[in-house]
């Protein structure tokens, strides 16, 4: 396993195309395959590219491999074959420590169950990625302000509602200016009205911060807030158009 060094893929034609435009893709999946147990194929030769600043929703039936895809992208699981490139770096070529360092610098996460540390204050929770990157934690307060929780930095998670907790998670995902945000059912635990608010905020913030984002969701309404929607099925990943409601979200 090699150490993580963000080296450009100079011999890659896709990279060269982007380089000619002055940008490289935020995420690129090439021929990604993953099977579990006795030949239960979840993902088969998946190809997928995400442009910088692009917000994509991935939908699909339960058990089709949406969360597995996110885990593979994050380097939390190993693909059987294929490659994941984050900002030009093949994550599968990195050892665990290098993959972890890449994750801490380039990725942000939003979970369905929020996963906010219960015994840290809100500002401490948001500042976690900054500290992991040895960065002063001051920006955490700005992000809390941005997600509408200004002045509540010293509160503890137990004092917050579900929607507020997800705002904290969004702030945490964005605070260190990641390249890519991975969101797994971010509104799965929220009521429709709160979900709508959170999604609007999520979209606004990722756009404001220039991050790309992948959101896995079962909710068509949630998916409609994305720039494009991909459907994951046993036949692979297929594009579909955001519904009319997407426009309303946007």
């Amino acid at each position: 396993m090699e150490e993580y060094k963000p080296v450009p893929l100079t011999d890659d034609p896709i990279f060269m195309t982007f380089r000619n435009n002055g940008v490289s893709p935020a995420l690129e999946c090439r021929g990604l395959s993953k099977a579990y147990g006795a030949g239960r194929v979840l993902l088969a030769s998946l190809d997928f590219t995400l442009d910088p600043g692009e917000f994509v929703a991935i939908m699909g039936d339960s058990g089709v491999g949406k969360s597995t895809l996110l885990n593979l992208i994050a380097g939390l699981d190993q693909a059987d074959s294929g490659e994941v490139l984050i900002d030009g770096t093949a994550i599968s070529s990195l050892d665990d420590n290098a993959a972890t360092r890449l994750r801490r610098q380039k990725l942000g996460f939003v979970f369905q169950a929020f996963h906010v540390l219960p015994h840290l204050t809100l500002v401490q929770n948001v500042a976690l990625p900054l500290l992991l990157n040895d960065t002063p934690p001051a920006r955490a307060l700005d992000l809390l302000e941005a997600v509408g929780l200004g002045g509540r930095g010293d509160d503890f998670p137990r004092q917050l509602s579900g929607g507020e907790l997800q705002r904290v998670a969004i702030a945490r995902a964005l605070v260190h200016r990641p390249t890519l945000i991975l969101a797994d059912e971010p509104t799965g635990n929220l009521d429709p009205e709160t979900a709508h608010e959170v999604l609007s905020l999520f979209r606004a913030e990722i756009k404001a911060n220039g991050a790309a984002a992948i959101m896995v969701t079962h909710s068509m309404a949630a998916a409609a807030s994305a720039d494009r929607i991909l459907i994951l099925s046993e036949h692979g990943l297929h594009a579909t158009q955001p519904s009319q409601s997407a426009g309303e979200h946007q």
């Binding site: 940008v23 610098q105 996963h115 840290l120 040895d134 960065t135 137990r158």
Partner: protein, 856 residues
């Protein structure tokens, strides 16, 4: 785009700050658990450190006092027996290379009415003033020649205080059966605090104590430039085995060997509490890791490396250890100061009489105990930390993955390896006369047994659950059994402390009971006479002359009087002297007089001129004596060939003892005195009547009488007192074990609030939830007690058959004190169930709806 990732202009030590935040959050959220863990470590360290400080202070003071008696001597020439002919003195004084020779008569003098002897040194003041200047008497200005006076004695301040006498007053001492009085002429130049010693002129001492022409030792100062080692070797060759050439460092070695096993055993015992505490730290940390599993997984997802996570958990454990150890050192210091002030330096073993040690800060011991406390805490955290670092973040983020965190605990191989190594270590000999490998074997047995617990729990409760499933029984039992069978890791963690403390209490109880019953049987065998008479309960100046022995034997009411002469023999100057007991022994049936441990050599196998001796088990261990072995011993002026005719059990003298027939002793030494008499009373005569008759003898006042029942009772009282500290330390280990149960059950129960909330939703009553908890705790503790008993029994085998013989050089037979074991088991069972229910009340008191809500 890569430039979009944070590229700070100013970098900070974010990892350190995050580590502080995480630690602070954990301790803020669960302060009680941190406090219990710290208190446990503190208690363990405090007990170990206090015992170490007390023993060390006592040993150092005792050693310094012994050393002060040798002064500036380069070498000491001693007799193999307590005294030797003074004609050796001029020969040694004129030996080339000797600058100065100072003769000394060193006596432990019996003091009427006192339980301990007084050390009296007879010295040549002119010579001793150059070798032991601190031990010179300081006469009053009016009587400057008292140092040479035959009725004057100089007492150290501690001796004056002990005997309640002041200069000018008189002190009574025993010589033979006669009381002789000395005038206290003053004090000594300088002695150690608490050191009881008296000094007088050597010629006066020889005369007054009936040892004319006898010396105990000759202190030598060598001329400059003389090679001490070579001189010593050549002198020893010239002197033969009648005299022993020793160095002053041998004094220290003797003192060390005398009490080493006792001190090490006490220290190990004191560390049991720390050992039990390690399991508490382990269970606290393991459950904390299980509880925080998803939090750690989230941190890993955000970019926390495995190494960072491992360091964080180990750092949290180490910090518990640092705080606990620092507190423990302070507590230990205070405890030792209090113990020395109020109870003296004797922790029950009786190894350090007559010293007044003071506790002093010991940097090395402090560092060791600090490291032990931290090490135990870090070790307790290591397995949970490794597991947390190994966990796959994606899987760990999912609810219900907690048992997976403990899956590795059920791997039986480490446990089996521990048990196998323990078995091998138990068979190995001691190191430096100390059963280090035996103790290591005990520790590995405990670790192995505890590591097997998850597997045992799974096997036993899976079988029970399957058996139970075929029967139509209550939901409570079904639920309790299902958890124990399917989450054995979590269940077993709670049992670590219980298992270790119960196993240790069983082991100690079996060992102590085996020892006590064996001592009792030994006493019964030993005390076959109706009455025991003694003139020298302590010291070596009192004895019965042949005429006095005849008078005793002829006293009305006495059927038979068997006399014993007790003395000692130095075989190795670096080891304590061996007791020499000359008494009536039937060589064809020595078992009638002593408890033999194996076959005996019949007298017919002896050749002419050979003398049979019977040696204690310690002689076999320490001097490698074997049945039938022929050897030369310096008993009497001529010595002779002695044959080991049997090995006997002796619980009184761990440094070794030799018995021989009284006529043989008298023939060889010409010493016709006796120190003890075992009296068989005539039929029809009463013991009280015989005592009254003996008291009427002219020397009746000098004799002490004891009936077998009194001796037995007194011996067992001393035995129980010497184990009192053991019981105390064991009790602390049990309390820590129960603390562990309380802390672990409490943590587990609160962590299961959501599960209980769900059960309440589906109609399980609060009472039923509590019943589930009680059933789980009861069944688990019962299994823990069963496994603990087996483990304790196995450990007791090592204590009885390995540690004790290697430490004290005596064997014993096994006895299991069922009533003690079952009482402790019952107490632990009830305590565990009660703890689980008390902890459960808090969990079920939560609102059922709130409890099932995701608390992230």
């Amino acid at each position: 785009m890569s430039g979009r990732a944070t590229a700070p202009s100013r970098r900070i030590a974010g990892g350190r700050l995050l580590a502080r935040w995480l630690l602070g959050a954990e301790w803020r959220s669960h302060p009680a658990r941190a406090i219990v863990a710290i208190a446990t470590i503190a208690l363990g360290v405090a007990l170990g450190y206090a015992v170490q400080l007390i023993n060390s202070a006592a040993f150092n003071e005792f050693s310094a006092a012994a050393k002060s008696l040798s002064g500036e001597a380069d070498l000491q020439v001693r007799g193999a027996q307590p005294t030797f002919d003074e004609n050796w003195y001029p020969r040694l004084a004129t030996t080339p290379g000797v600058a100065l020779a100072s003769p000394v008569l060193d006596l432990d003098v019996t003091v009427p009415g006192q339980t301990a002897a007084l050390k009296v040194l007879g010295i040549d003041v002119f010579r001793a003033s150059r070798i032991t200047p601190e031990l010179i008497g300081v006469p009053s200005g009016q009587r400057p020649l008292d140092t040479l006076s035959d009725d004057a004695i100089f007492l150290s301040p501690a001796a004056q205080q002990w005997l309640h006498v002041a200069p000018g007053e008189h002190v009574a001492l025993l010589s033979g059966t006669s009381i002789i009085r000395f005038r206290v002429a003053g004090g000594l130049v300088r002695t150690r605090p608490g050191q009881r010693v008296a000094v007088m002129d050597i010629a006066a001492a020889q005369w007054r104590f009936g040892l004319e022409g006898k010396l105990s030792r000759i202190d030598l100062q060598l001329q400059r430039g003389v090679d001490r080692e070579r001189f010593k070797r050549e002198l020893q060759e010239r002197l033969g085995n009648q005299l022993v050439v020793a160095e002053t460092r041998d004094d220290e070695s003797r003192t060390d060997r005398l009490s080493r096993a006792y001190r090490i055993n006490m220290n190990v015992l004191a560390l049991v509490a720390l050992f039990t505490g390690a399991f508490l730290v382990f269970s606290t940390q393991a459950l904390a890791v299980v509880r925080r599993r998803a939090q750690f997984a989230m941190l890993r997802v955000l970019g926390y490396t495995r190494g960072q996570l491992l360091r964080q958990i180990l750092m949290e454990g180490a910090l518990l250890g640092v705080l606990g150890s620092a507190l423990g050192l302070a507590l230990g210091y205070a405890l030792s100061s209090i113990a020395l002030r109020f109870f003296g330096s004797d922790l029950g073993g009786g190894y350090f009489p007559g010293v007044q040690p003071r506790v002093s800060f010991e940097p090395v011991a402090s560092t060791i105990f600090l490291a032990l406390g931290i090490g135990v805490s870090v070790l307790g955290s290591l397995v949970p930390a490794l597991e947390a670092a190994r966990a796959r973040p994606a899987a760990a983020l999912k609810a219900g993955s907690e048992e997976g965190a403990l899956a590795r605990l059920a791997t039986p191989w480490p446990a089996v390896i521990c048990l196998a190594v323990a078995g091998i270590l138990a068979l190995l000999p001691p190191i430096f006369d100390v059963p280090i490998l035996g103790y290591l074997s005990v520790a590995l047995l405990l670790v192995g047994g505890i590591a097997l617990m998850p597997r045992c729990t799974a096997i036993v409760f899976t079988a029970l659950s399957q058996w139970h499933a075929k029967r139509r029984t209550r939901a409570v039992t079904t639920l309790a059994l299902a958890r124990l069978a399917n989450a054995p890791g979590q269940a077993s963690i709670a049992m670590g402390g219980v298992l270790s403390s119960f196993a240790l209490i069983v082991a100690m109880a079996i060992m102590v009971a085996s020892f006590r019953v064996s001592v009792d049987e030994w006493l019964t065998h030993l005390l076959s006479a109706d009455l025991y008479v003694r003139v020298a309960a302590n010291g070596d100046t009192a004895s019965l002359s042949p005429g006095e022995q005849t008078a005793i034997a002829a006293t009305p009411g006495i059927g038979h009087a068997a006399f014993t002469r007790t003395s000692h023999l130095t075989l190795d100057p670096a080891r304590p002297a061996v007791a020499l007991l000359a008494r009536d022994i039937d060589a064809t049936d020595p078992g009638a007089a002593m408890q033999m441990t194996g076959p005996v050599l019949p007298p017919s196998t002896l050749q002419d001129g050979e003398t049979p001796i019977w040696v204690s088990e310690a002689m076999v261990d320490l001097y490698r004596y074997r049945l039938g072995q022929r050897l030369k011993l310096s008993i009497g002026a001529q010595g002779g060939t002695f044959v080991v005719a049997g090995v006997w059990r002796d619980y009184a003298r761990q440094t070794g003892a030799i018995q021989l027939r009284l006529p043989d002793y008298r023939r060889l030494t010409g010493d016709t005195g006796a120190t003890d008499a075992a009296i068989t009373v005539d039929r029809g005569a009463s013991v009280e009547g015989v005592i009254a008759n003996l008291r009427k003898l002219p020397f009746g006042a000098a004799m002490q009488f004891a009936e077998p029942g009194d001796i037995r009772a007194r011996t067992l009282t001393i035995f129980d007192r010497s184990f009192a500290v053991t019981y105390l330390l064991e009790a602390v280990a049990i309390v820590i074990g129960l603390f562990g149960v309380a802390a672990t059950f409490s943590a587990q129960t609160l962590a299961r609030a959501r599960e209980f909330g769900m059960l309440r939703h589906v109609g399980v009553t609060r009472r039923q939830v509590l019943a589930i908890l009680a059933a789980e705790a009861g069944m688990l503790t019962a299994l823990g007690i069963a496994v603990g008993f087996v483990l304790g029994w196995a450990i007791s085998l090592i204590l009885v058959f390995v540690v004790n013989p290697q430490s004290f050089h005596w064997s014993m037979s096994m006895h299991i004190p069922w009533h003690v074991v079952s009482t402790v088991a019952l107490v632990m069972l009830i305590s565990s169930c009660a703890t689980a229910v008390v902890a459960g009340r808090k969990a079920v008191s939560l609102d059922a709806v709130r409890a099932v809500k995701e608390d992230w």
